[in-house]
Symmetry: C2
Subunit: 142 residues, 2 copies
Amino acid sequence: MLKNIDHIGIAVHSLENVKTFFLNIFGISPEFEETVAEQQVKVIGYRVGESNIEFLQPISQMSPISKYLEKRGEGLHHIAVAVEDLESVLASLKSKEIPLIDETPRTGAEGKKIAFVHPKGLFGILLELSQKNEKSNHSSQS
Amino acid sequence: MLKNIDHIGIAVHSLENVKTFFLNIFGISPEFEETVAEQQVKVIGYRVGESNIEFLQPISQMSPISKYLEKRGEGLHHIAVAVEDLESVLASLKSKEIPLIDETPRTGAEGKKIAFVHPKGLFGILLELSQKNEKSNHSSQS
């Protein structure tokens, strides 16, 4: 049911500092860089095995990451786990009265279906569940 | 240089609550359960893809996890990344004046060589680096 760690999300003040660090220490550049307008963040990601380590910098005070940084400072923000059937996992969590941030899946990066589970029902962990959208095939659109 | 996410460590008050949760929601039991006396914690781990999700419960007030729980409550505590050559990564970090908790590797669970990097030099992330000890082969000891 839980396939793999899709990514670990880390809240930071400056992606430039992260890029300098990874280049200096590990000799690597990010695999991708994007802006997620809905969350008001810029994101860069480094591939580590089958997972990404993602860094999130807010681009406005409206971003949840901005609030997080004010309250707790830089650090681990959330983990994302890939599942095979997101709807059935959400239904199972809901039936057990685990508080959900997203009761139904929404569309995340790369056309994935995603949903967040609230940390208060999950040992303080902000958990993102994600499912690859089989119907989405970017390469066939060309 | 960075091979894969070895595990994600999560600080909790009660492993029993975690076990109940995982069994009820995902129908799974922990892959392993052990006590790490040096850190004064009990640990359970669930396999997710090539990584483990590990939960840590303090067994005394001396545990660093006990202090963490008092200060920040339950939640994401550290990430561990597997590397090929721990000594060379530590030397590289040291040469760049990144503060290390362990300047030389020590032995962790499963005979692995491990070392912790201080969060203040690493975007608030408590990072454990680990390297499989090629010389350790438990099955050949029988």
